[in-house]
Symmetry: C2
Subunit: 249 residues, 2 copies
């Protein structure tokens, strides 16, 4: 029974998130439906990142098993055909081994967060950025961000409903760069807590506005207390960019 | 009577274009309506680039006169308020001199065209790029593009309905660069013929696909014949990026 690995791009705006919910369309359920339509098989689809409602993906990874052996280009084309008009596209498809698991084999997840800082609202990037009025100080944000890198108890930056057993995670990268009126925040780790990136971004925004210093951010981390976190950043600015796996031997 | 100069961003998707038409919403008419709502004055709005239906702007420039002297920040905020929910935003507003004309004072117009070359359709950039299946050769496109730079008779790359008196224009820049799966074509000139950028892009795409060589492109230019042009590129990939004016003395 072959296992297929797919790389997926989606506009998160109309979805309740990656995962199936009691109500509303999820990316996972749309994928399952498209797989069933072309293969007549009903299968479980497992994804690397359980993105929230409104969060986008440029390179989500998922796997599923089918009884039948298909050409991977055929799978990609058939899925893209049946996914229409949902804003989900398979951008790569490969056959992988049975020990590959999109979620548990991942060794790194890379997220990007986009903030647009200017007086006028975005027209071409509606639902794609967090629009923040007024000037931001990206240098101050970058310096403060460095304090979160490494192995920490991220309880402060964890959603109430987070199901992870431990709040201790290793954040490998948290880079803040400015490009014109846009501020990009790039975060990499083996895994993240629920809403961790948006929670960190929400607090970094306070630093960018001069309301917090790097010291405040560090104190928030050290507090290990959800109530010490700044307001969580909106979903529309967040992108799951890439998921890394070990190279096959 | 003060003259106001505004810089405008818009998503061209829902509009019949910049200019007022007998039917459908134009950017120009939406702007006039927003100006009337906040100032109670009915004025003509003159734009630098008469973008076609579906063409976007990151930095369109327009001017209009009002009887009353307003604070420019107030004008910007009021227009952005009254433009909602249309995807048009005023990103800058200034008072200028009576001899400034958004269209006739312009000394350079800069356009960008985005091609996405990959097997899967775009999900995050729907209505923002020209999706082209299969590999493109950006180096070949860049080399061929160079043949169009300079002063030429661009009859081949001019729409049938173009109202310009002469087809002779000077193209200052036509650069093709690749960024991942995306190909960017940047064109600069004092002024362009109607559909000139999309006509040139349509022919450059044939070069990128290996269907045309630089020689074919040059022969098309030399033919001075509309029927020698490749299929015109779709509007959704085109952006009016910036308009330049002489520095005030």
């Amino acid at each position: 029974m072959p296992r297929y690995r797919v790389t997926i791009e989606y506009d998160g705006t109309p979805f309740v998130g990656w995962q199936r919910q009691s109500c509303g369309a999820s990316v996972q359920s749309c994928l399952s439906a498209a797989i069933a339509k072309f293969s007549s098989e009903t299968v479980a689809v497992s994804g690397a990142g359980r993105t929230d409602a409104g969060v986008h993906a440029l390179g989500q990874v998922a796997h599923f098993d089918l009884q039948r052996v298909w050409d991977t280009q055929t799978v990609q084309k058939a899925l893209n055909f049946h996914l229409k008009p949902q804003p989900i596209a398979i951008i790569a498809c490969a056959v992988t081994t049975q020990d590959f698991d999109a979620r548990f084999s991942a060794i790194a997840r890379h997220y990007r967060y986009r903030i647009l800082a200017r007086a006028a609202p975005p027209m071409l990037d509606r639902d794609r950025v967090w629009w923040v009025r007024g000037k931001m100080q990206p240098m101050a944000m970058a310096q403060a961000a460095a304090t979160l890198i490494g192995r920490h108890d991220f309880t402060t930056f964890r959603a109430a409903g987070c199901q992870a057993q431990s709040a201790i995670k290793t954040l490998d990268r948290l880079a803040v760069t400015a490009a014109g009126e846009e501020i990009l925040i790039e975060a990499s780790a083996r895994s993240f807590l629920h809403r961790q990136v948006r929670s960190m971004v929400g607090s970094l925004k306070l630093v960018g506005e001069g309301k917090w210093t790097a010291h405040h951010l560090r104190a928030a981390l050290d507090a290990k207390d959800r109530s010490a976190c700044g307001p969580v950043a909106p979903a529309a600015g967040l992108y799951l960019v890439r998921v890394d796996y070990p190279q096959p031997p």
